[in-house]
Symmetry: D2
Subunit: 159 residues, 4 copies
């Protein structure tokens, strides 16, 4: 666990089904989150969420998944701490709100809801491969490393 | 109350502070919602929310406000049934989820979070004066009447 | 709608399956809530919730149901305004929090969660046929009329 | 982190202000949770929540706090992973729902709401020094070690 208190928490938002390119980016992001000593938060399911959790777990990081349902075993296998909220898609609010910064990879409706909610409550957002989120005036990174670096900078500035 | 059961519920999303043009549009929307025999749902505060509630109340409709705080008196005066949720901005999920269709007027981050969440859970959305929401591929109406007509059509199709 | 603003909102909590005695009490409570010009809030499903909604609707009142799921048609037929929250049992928080007072009839675990949550956030509670709730030091009424009368008194004092 | 997947998560509920006896019990419980390789969940504030987090942290465990507000620095200093939900007291639902078992120490209204909600959704509960919770027919432990042992047994049986 990081020596900073409270430890940095970086959320990753993205679709539950994704192509190989987004999956690879998600793994890069998760890896960089763990390398930075930050905790990874996500929605706990497949696709981008699984890629990010896998990357973080591979790098020895801590991964937390806010699940929509009430069965912890529905988390992907790289989630070390599943939190089965039972709130359905309402759990998106927790992904967006409880982090110091949010990285959105790709972006279908669920991802966009997390991005917009994060901005509403003052949580900084960085985009990777924006989709539906392209014209929002938010910072766009080109690599997973860059996304995490900028997210951490924005989190520091925001606190 | 409408003879249809369950009665149609149309949500209106928009910023808590807005200019005269958006306020007038919001009143038009609220008026048309009530004329159609539908119930108006919103976030219960000022700006677009107040305009829509005023329009609906003027036309004899029922208005419900999901408030972020726990004091019902923080609702605008045109809210007939304030619901003080105590969930903070998390109440946006309720505005977007509990309606048959959502009309977004203008659109800052909170509005966008409601639009995206509504689409995520399958609630149809119509936009008026889109802002941040312009490139989402969602139907855009030009007048309050048109917005309500299209919202009702989409709600019927979606059920 | 009541001329008081905001209008009094009385929530009724109770099990989704209940015997004839509790059902009759629930109808009495709903009837008295409507007679008092108050809005009835409940969880929108069967048993006590249905009895209370039926009593209120029979007396010309307004009935609102916070549903755990996302389909408004899962509400009992006496709910005039179904609010499909999609929050699962988490919707109990809304039943307990958004009312001016809560009347608990009988009381299994869900009911007890609403009673305790209401007290935690300062919403007054009146019990009818207490079960699991008997030793909590809360006021107990003997009839539906008495329960509503005391709930309204406590709501007035609490505001 | 435990080798079991998903790792056992034990929640501790209790008042934000408590006497020395409950504080000592809370530390015992937290210590035993960590010794068992389980993760400690709680509401993240003072009193019983702080005692439990301190006991778990002292024993090298992982501690998570679901905060009512949106500032992670409002967590007690023994919370390693603060989750600022912004849901107000509504966050009680998360404490009760996301764990494999819940241990309630003492018990004012907030604690009772968590106990009842946990039972509603099928999460097993063990009581220590029951208060308001004494007559609920729930298992009562006499020491922190016993409470954790029984909670783990019930969690295993419940899954």
């Amino acid at each position: 666990m990081s020596e900073r208190w409270p430890p940095l928490r970086i959320a990753v938002a993205g679709a539950g089904i994704c192509d190989d390119e987004l999956m690879a980016l998600a793994r890069d992001v998760g890896h960089a989150v763990a390398e930075a000593g930050a905790i990874l938060l996500c929605g706990g399911l497949g696709g981008v969420m699984e890629g990010a959790a896998r990357g973080a777990a591979d790098a020895g990081g801590v991964t937390i998944g806010f699940l929509p349902g009430s069965d912890p075993r529905h988390a992907n296998q790289f989630i070390q701490i599943p939190l089965p909220t039972g709130l359905g898609e309402g759990r998106n609010v927790l992904v967006a709100r409880t982090a110091d910064a949010l990285i959105a990879i790709g972006g279908e409706w669920g991802t966009l809801s997390e991005v917009a909610f994060a901005r509403k409550v003052g949580v900084p957002v960085v985009l990777l491969r924006p989709h539906r989120t392209a014209d929002l005036g938010l910072p766009v990174a080109r690599t997973g490393d860059e996304a995490v670096r900028r997210a951490i900078e924005l989190a520091a500035g925001g606190a």
